[in-house]
Point group: C2
Chain length 476, copies 2
């Protein structure tokens, strides 16, 4: 999907719109509803895994970042800095009132490790207070001033999970748990296939010992999208903010942390993965509307059928809408709802009334079914929704596989990427300078380190022997 | 409840905590869960009333406020202004990098009329696009730098509803609908009694034709709290942003708007209204935990009973927790859960096993019940939860009434407020200068205009004849 098609699709389906500031978008009801469905599903997963939702402030004082700079050498980048609090009028124009300068600058959270760890000291005293498993759903700002709907925006909505443990071992076990949580939402609900692995040193979250990431590629272009990241913070933030606890032996020792997030970027991934020429194909489990009911004529028999269907669908927790505006032709309606990616169309016309059936068309294959209207109709519908859910995942997974190549040398890598964009697996001898060179020459970056093999292989770039296998990809 | 008691209660129940910035708080899991329950309930009410959730940006460009200044003479106050995007290091210290100055300042939303109406022009063309009924759940910033948990904070979470209509009549009808929505959540769910009426000109939302507000008073102190406001925007923002539509006659005409919100301030209101010496008394319908189960001894019979109860409570959608930590005395547990305001304690000891009963103690009256353990136990429990819900509303309402006084003259007003803080009803001849004088002399403000009577009465302050009746109150 080229950029124009991507933007057109987002605008024509009322998923999002531009704001008047570059890099910042408005999420419209159809798009927000997709995000809300993701939120409801993942929130249940979080609660099952004993996480508590809470809310930390949007604004963080500079002195905390100063501490992080001192200990971990982190300098916040592309951040929104609040410096004043009032306007005054000058020549009929609003200008910042210099007198309202804040004593200390405030930074809009780009993420919340800083504010959370600086608070934890007050909340954690003894081993009985651990683990702390917390999560927040909120907005964050990274002033990128680039404008790729959902993929690169200055503001996005996300969940950020934070866990604090009494031992390294426990923190690493928690990371395994979080991996499972993300696998579940990505595969079972969003139908997005992915590869996973560790980020290189250069791409690791500042303050983390390692970053584990989930990556996928888009349908046509084969471009890389980072779906989720999990950071192992080790005892780094525990050191910065002196977050210690008294263990069973009565000794004061440090704590160990993890943090991880998924964001509205997932909406972009869904759009770029699940689509065809006619528009979106939304996974039924997160589709705002699972079924659109389309009566072709306006009479009392059809009205009776619709009342009957409504009742059954409601009871089965299937979301639906009815379009009974007869001023618009069925053709135009099909076009609209196919574009929106609604998984199932239910059509009722004269033939259907005669046969006491409805015509069902599934969005992914356009296969038609004629279902008898009776109390059990929901069983067949649920079956088809499930079948769509499974099929689009398998379809996307196969495609990702066909777009994943293996290369042995930089020469063949260069040759192949000119023909095909996708994931490139190869062996790599870690070297940050070479990593940058590759990026400059090819625009490809190391998406992640997928495994360490037992055998040593030649690095595709430096020819040095290594056991590290990586995936390269071209991101937005 | 004095300030110290209010803060102690919030901290000891883990509802909220201070952040390191004055005026900004952290909402902890127990407090966030109360907010989340309010959100779930009100979101259902919104959807029933055909509102769509969406998400507008956090940051608003100065040029939009410039437009509002020009047309409506609005100057944003106490706002967080973003001016830079980068830090640099100087003498080992983070300082704002002057080179990163933004071309145009960005303001963190204090509310979203500005950004919404500036966008609507693109979304509304014809009468078919109206009404637009939209809502967002988000954070807003008003840099007050005052620190009264939930009541006065720089950041709060809220819902802001916005409706756009094709006629004045329709917009005014919508306001009636919203009044009903707020009445429902405040009375039926939060058990908060209130008075309602119009704000004076001085207190009306800038850009609104009128502001309608819901006000209550706290339990002991009788101080006023504004619970919710509804603004009738008339065609003011339609004029600023040129939001017009083509009517059925093909003519371009202006649109009419409303906006309204409730925020995390409601958590503060709940705490200050529903409490006694032992702590909070949460309304069952928004309590994070409705029942705490307290086994007094540790044996297999009790465990069996608990498994049985868990199953029944789950099926009846009653939220509960079990405290089976036998290292803590029952006395301490009672103290803790009473303080947290959990509506019902279920206690099981030796006597209870013998009689196959549980002891139930309700939080509001401490009345005891002995319930037989059987499949129908949930019916009795639901009945008691309902009874608590009703009783605490009636209790609060009666109290509000006893703290509502009528005065005829300023002299008697002064005399009475020295003895009793509360709501003061009186007649008032509108005059902004006098309004300010009263505030300076007494710290009381006009909370709202409650009605216009047919008969003329003397104004309590100016002695001029008027038919306007108002309520005065002392707010935080």
């Amino acid at each position: 999907m080229d950029d124009k098609r991507y933007i057109d699709l987002i605008k024509s389906t009322n998923i999002a719109d531009y704001s008047d500031i570059k890099g910042i978008i408005i999420i419209k009801p159809y798009g927000y509803s997709i995000w809300n469905n993701i939120k409801i599903i993942f929130d249940k997963i979080l609660i099952k895994n004993k996480y508590n939702n809470l809310y930390f402030p949007l604004l963080i004082s500079k002195k905390l970042f100063q501490l992080e700079y001192k200990t971990l050498n982190i300098i916040p980048k592309e951040c929104a800095i609040v410096t004043h609090s009032r306007f005054k009028i000058n020549n009929n124009k609003l200008i910042v009132d210099k007198k309202s300068k804040l004593n200390e600058e405030l930074i809009i959270r780009p993420t919340s490790e800083t504010v959370i760890w600086s608070t934890l000291k007050r909340w954690i005293q003894s081993y009985r207070d651990l683990p702390k498993l917390i999560n927040q759903w909120c907005n964050v700002i990274r002033l990128e001033m680039r404008n790729k709907f959902f993929i690169r925006n200055s503001e996005f909505l996300w969940q950020e999970g934070h866990s604090i443990h009494s031992s390294k071992k426990e923190a690493l076990l928690e990371i395994k748990k979080v991996k499972k949580m993300y696998k579940k939402i990505l595969k079972n609900y969003l139908c997005i296939p992915f590869i996973t692995g560790y980020k290189t040193f250069k791409e690791t979250f500042l303050g983390a010992k390692f970053t584990y990431s989930f990556e996928t590629i888009t349908k046509e272009k084969g471009k890389s999208i980072q779906l989720a990241t999990i950071h192992y913070l080790s005892n780094n933030f525990s050191k910065v903010y002196n977050v210690k606890y008294t263990n069973i032996m009565g000794k004061r020792v440090c704590t160990w942390g993890t943090s991880w997030g998924i964001s509205t970027r997932l909406i972009g991934a869904i759009i770029m993965i699940h689509n065809d020429k006619k528009g979106l194909i939304l996974p039924p489990k997160i589709a705002p509307i699972q079924i659109i009911i389309l009566p072709l004529i306006d009479n009392y028999k059809i009205k009776r059928i619709i009342i009957y269907l409504k009742d059954i669908l409601k009871k089965s927790n299937i979301t639906f809408e009815i379009d009974d505006n007869f001023n618009i032709t069925p053709g135009k309606k099909f076009y609209k709802y196919d574009n929106m990616g609604i998984p199932i169309k239910l059509i009722i016309g004269i033939n259907e009334i005669r046969n006491n059936t409805v015509e069902l068309i599934r969005r992914d294959t356009f296969q038609k079914y004629y279902l008898y209207i009776n109390n059990n109709i929901y069983i067949k519908i649920l079956k088809i929704l499930n079948s769509i859910q499974k099929r689009i995942y398998i379809f996307a997974k196969k495609r990702m596989r066909t777009k994943t190549y293996f290369v042995k040398s930089f020469k063949s890598f260069i040759k192949k990427i000119n023909r095909n964009c996708g994931f490139y697996a190869t062996y790599w001898y870690s070297n940050s300078k070479n990593e940058l060179t590759i990026q400059k020459l090819t625009q490809y970056t190391i998406r992640c380190i997928i495994k360490k093999s037992n055998k040593k292989h030649k690095c595709f770039f430096s020819n040095k022997y290594t056991n590290t296998k990586i995936i390269l990809g071209k991101s937005y």
